[in-house]
């Protein structure tokens, strides 16, 4: 054993991890070296295929059975994790290193009571164990811990399940926590609360943690140091603030730049996107893994770069680290050309108007209802929504899961029946059913879907997928349509050879490009885009957003852009509507939404989004509880159960009025403008037009 003068809590040395797949060996982690000191949090950031989850599992020595540690060492507190017999790991798991997974609902045993699942690791007398569990549940701020302990997992919400898993991880006071995207399946506002809890507990107890995530915003707020993984290699590592302020590696720089800042808008600047695609994991490469996408790559990049040490205990795997560090070359891509600002002539025509749209989902009839021939109960998914979209305009619709935003999108394109309300499209009434719509209406109204895996038929080639709309809606013959497919591919920057491919041969970003090409094939007047980038990796999101914007500009297409991510919506939209439990809370011009006065819910959303530009700590506004179940009928304002500024009974009983401000902002609240102005705590608006040099 080599003499180690300093012992960090966890030390990983030149770790190679590989998977054995049908006889061949694929290395998914190469030469990763990391250290975690006690009491610190290391963020491990990577996109899909970067090997970040494999790294987390390797530290736990819990790789899938095809996986194995090929070379390198993992030292934890004098334990050689890489060489321990597996049975001995069981004395480390839970007691020394604990794990918080990303999918809380499936990570708890569905048929054992929650309390028992936590108590079984204690080896205590049942009564003592019980008392300890209750106390632990109080620590993780679970309301009514007795009740939680007696529940089964399916009776708890996602946020509560995650708190239980955190309690489990803390149970035996481990020294190190491995967190695998612990908040990625939670809603924005729940995420903020759970994240704060995790961080407070780690700090209070002086534990160390490894925080594995794809979300750079969270890393900036939470971690002391950050490691950037790309295609199984460590590209850069160092103190969080230095890396975020002065990234050395061009990939880190590109990734940071491609994420829209809160309040940034397309009218100010184009997103700096990363081109190309992520190499497949385990793909053997010579030279720098990033060179095909790097704007600084030169001859030497054909050779594999070492990890170079920078000042300030940082490392970077770039041959040109020195030139970048000294400021001789710029690792930021040449300033992206700004796009023409939309002609905001005030009198554009409305093309879509929806009024009082309501959607109900009937529940399965209960036995009594069946016998008594009663109407089945209903859940209101959308309750009386009204808005307008003008020609060429982009309306951003933002809301958390279950808010009804996707349902609303499906109503507009005719895939979902309404329970009431009217729609007008291009100055004529729009029938709610698809059968009632003419081919011309279909042509003018197209949609891009959220899940790229399901948006394209896996059994059709790209050519067939793009040819059908041309034949059906534009009436072209097969030959003409075939030719036009090539133009379509070109317009979404895919080469002609893609025509012969099947969706499974495309990356997520490429699939979404094909889906966008299909939607634009008929030159629609209005495009509905439902979370078009949320299933994509960070480094390809920006490129797809830019593409969407370019296509819209070219055809003058208006859009309804739906997302849960306020920063993304803020970037692409001209006007933003905020939706909560099926009702609009606020409608405002994009830049106005980020300026006070704020609707209480909008402000909570804004506050819950961690900033990427600077460390601003945890969300100031912590909403209590979670979004009430849609089964719960609420009178008055839908937000009253969680509103930090609830006035009193009026909020629970009376529908709030719509108020309009001079800026054009309309909001749905009992509090008037002056009141909101006083309550708004922070200003989330940063004028990027001014910041831009």
């Amino acid at each position: 054993m080599t003499e180690r003068n300093h012992h960090p809590l966890l030390e990983i040395k030149d770790l190679d991890v590989a998977y054995r797949i049908r006889g061949s060996v694929r290395r998914v982690l190469r030469g990763v070296s990391l250290r975690v000191e006690s009491g610190s949090i290391l963020g491990v950031v990577g996109e899909s295929g970067s090997g970040k989850t494999t790294l987390a599992l390797a530290i736990l020595r819990y790789l899938p059975k095809e996986g194995f540690i090929q070379a390198g060492e993992i030292w934890f507190d004098e334990h050689p994790i890489h060489a321990l017999p597996l049975e001995q790991m069981r004395t480390i798991w839970g007691k020394e290193i604990a794990f918080v997974p990303q999918d809380p609902s499936s990570s708890l045993n569905p048929s054992i009571k929650i309390g028992e699942q936590v108590a079984e690791m204690l080896h205590l007398h049942p009564d003592d164990a019980r008392a300890r569990v209750i106390q632990l549940f109080k620590t993780v701020q679970l309301a009514d811990p007795e009740h939680v302990a007696n529940s089964y997992p399916h009776q708890l919400s996602g946020g509560m399940q995650q708190r239980v898993l955190i309690a489990m991880a803390l149970n035996l006071k481990p020294k190190l926590l491995v967190l695998d995207e612990p908040t990625s399946n939670l809603d924005t506002t729940t995420q903020a609360a759970v994240l704060k809890l995790i961080c407070d507990l780690i700090r209070d107890r002086g534990m160390a943690a490894i925080y594995v995530t794809h979300n750079l915003r969270l890393v900036r707020q939470v971690c002391d140091r950050v490691a950037i993984l790309y295609a199984g290699e460590l590209l850069e590592e160092g103190p969080t603030q230095q890396i975020f302020d002065q990234p050395n590696h061009p990939y880190t720089r590109g990734l940071l730049d491609s994420i829209p800042r809160l309040g940034e808008n397309k009218s100010h600047m184009r997103l700096r996107s990363l081109e190309g695609r992520i190499p497949l994991s385990g793909e053997p490469t010579l030279g720098c893994n990033y060179r095909s996408r790097c704007h600084l790559s030169i001859e030497i990049c054909e050779q594999h770069p070492a990890l170079f040490e920078l000042s300030g205990s940082r490392v970077s795997r770039c041959h040109r680290w020195d030139e970048i560090d000294r400021g001789e070359i710029d690792n930021r891509k040449s300033s992206a050309e700004s796009i023409p600002i939309l002609r905001t002539s005030k009198k554009r025509l409305p093309i879509l108007g929806i009024e009082d749209i309501r959607v109900d989902f009937p529940l399965q009839r209960t036995f009594e209802e069946f016998i008594g021939r009663k109407q089945p109960r209903k859940v209101q998914a959308v309750g009386g929504v009204k808005f307008e979209i003008l020609k060429g305009q982009t309306l951003g619709l933002v809301g958390e899961s279950g808010s009804g935003k996707t349902t609303l999108a499906r109503v507009i394109v005719g895939l979902q029946d309404t329970a009431g309300g009217t729609m007008r499209f291009l100055s004529s009434a729009l029938p709610s059913r698809l059968n009632g719509r003419s081919m011309e209406t279909l042509r003018q109204l197209q949609m891009v879907f959220q899940n790229t895996d399901e948006a394209l038929n896996p059994y059709q080639t790209v050519e067939e997928i793009l040819r059908r709309p041309l034949q059906r809606m534009l009436g072209k013959n097969r030959t003409a349509a075939k030719r036009d497919v090539l133009f379509l591919l070109d317009s979404v920057q895919l080469s002609a050879e893609y025509a012969k491919r099947l969706p499974s041969q495309l990356s997520g970003g490429e699939r979404q490009r094909v889906a966008i090409a299909r939607a634009f094939a008929s030159h629609p007047t209005l495009l509905i885009a439902d979370e078009p980038v949320s299933s994509l990796d960070a480094s390809v999101q920006a490129a797809v957003l830019n593409l969407l914007n370019d296509m819209q500009e070219k055809d003058g297409t208006a859009a309804l852009f739906i997302s849960h991510d306020l920063a993304v919506v803020g970037y692409l939209a001209d006007v933003i509507a905020v939706i909560y439990r099926g009702q609009l809370m606020e409608v405002a011009e994009a830049h106005e939404l980020f300026k006070p006065p704020y609707h209480p819910y909008t402000e909570a959303l804004l506050s819950a989004i961690p900033k990427i530009e600077y460390k601003n700590g945890h969300a100031k506004i912590q909403l209590k509880g979670e979004i009430p179940s849609p089964l719960e009928k609420l009178e008055g304002c839908p937000f009253h159960t969680r509103c930090p500024h609830r006035l009193g009974e009026i909020c629970d009983q009376e529908q709030p009025p719509w108020r309009t401000l001079a800026s054009g902002k309309r909001y749905f609240c009992h509090i008037d403008e002056d009141g909101l102005q006083k309550l708004s705590q922070d200003n989330y608006f940063r004028d990027y037009a001014e910041l831009k040099e």
């Binding site: 069981r90 839970g94 794990f99 499936s106 054992i112 079984e120 089964y152």
Partner: protein, 314 residues
């Protein structure tokens, strides 16, 4: 839970009604004139007509069906054409025999099947798993008359351990009958064993992939606790359901097995009724079988619901 039970019961009744209609319709379509079957070839047209009238054979079909169903529920299952004896007591004796055989089959197969499935599932892809998988796959599709004849050759003709013929005396006790039950039970066991073992294996493999197993492991629990307390509990739930559902499979198998071994159970009676075109007997046997099968399915649903908190508590 109550709601769930009521729903299941509702489905059971609906299914039984539909099934009884199917059975009634099919037996009505059986070739041959019932009256002539009863009275024989040389009966005169007048006598035939009188009997038809008496038996209600001239009534419209829905009425005949209604009468038949009412008689069925009141325990009046009629008299067999061919044996001239009351059907219900006849069938009850046969049912007892079939149930005796079933009990032996279940005891011989289920514990062993679960053990095999579990060992295979825990060693997925290893030699033992491959052996069990290929072995069960080979046995599962083998017709019972083939495996039964092989077993007779080995254990009856070869070793002389058990009799080749299992025609037990009417009313013989379980212990008396037991030696004769072994070979037919073993034959039916092979298929059931393979079937249940495969499903248990699949269940174990599926559960082992669930993230909650990772949580249990990483809590530092002993592997034994993880398997016995966490995995098995969930993996066996579908297996228990399957055992009940495999009743249907077993009934099919029993029809053949009972005929291979000349065992006086419902399966032999069924074939007898078909060969003799004995309509009331055929209806009785089928209805009895179907009710048994439906009850087994109901039991499966209820056991499943009891073991699954998500259903039990909704």
């Amino acid at each position: 839970m109550l709601r769930y039970v009521l729903r299941r019961l509702g489905f059971l009744v609906l299914t039984l009604i539909l099934t009884s209609m199917i059975i009634f319709a099919m037996t009505q379509l059986l070739p041959g004139d019932t009256a002539r079957v009863i009275l024989g070839r040389e009966a005169g047209e007048g006598a035939l007509e009188a009997l038809r009238e008496e038996l209600g054979l001239n009534d419209p079909l829905p009425l005949q069906y209604g009468n038949w169903l009412i008689h069925f529920f009141t325990g009046d299952w009629g008299v067999s054409f061919s044996t001239r004896s009351a059907i219900l007591p006849l069938l009850m004796g046969r049912l007892r025999n079939s149930l005796m055989l079933t009990v032996v089959i279940l005891f011989m197969s289920i514990p062993f099947a679960i053990l095999l499935g579990l060992s295979a599932g825990l060693r997925e892809g290893k030699l033992l798993d491959n052996l069990i998988s290929v072995g069960s796959l080979s046995v599962v599709g083998l017709p019972e008359f083939v495996s039964g004849l092989v077993l007779i050759q080995i254990f009856a003709f070869g070793l002389g351990w058990f009799p080749a013929n299992s025609s037990i005396r009417i009313g013989s006790s379980f212990l008396e009958a037991l030696p004769m039950l072994i070979l037919p039970a073993l034959t039916a066991t092979l298929v059931l064993l393979a079937y249940v073992a495969r499903l248990t294996r699949a269940g174990v493999i599926e559960e082992l992939k669930q993230p909650y197993v990772r949580t249990a492991d990483l809590k530092g629990l002993p592997r034994r606790t993880v398997i016995l307390k966490h995995v098995l509990r969930n993996a066996l739930t579908p297996t228990i359901t399957v055992i009940a559902i495999s009743f249907g499979w077993m009934i099919s198998g029993l029809i053949v097995v009972e005929n291979v071994f000349n065992y006086p159970g419902l399966g032999r009676m069924l074939l007898f009724a078909i060969e003799r075109r004995d309509l009331p007997l055929l209806q009785g046997v089928t209805m009895l079988t179907v009710v048994g099968f439906a009850l087994a399915n109901l039991a499966a649903d209820l056991i499943y619901a009891t073991l699954t908190p998500r259903i039990r508590l909704s």
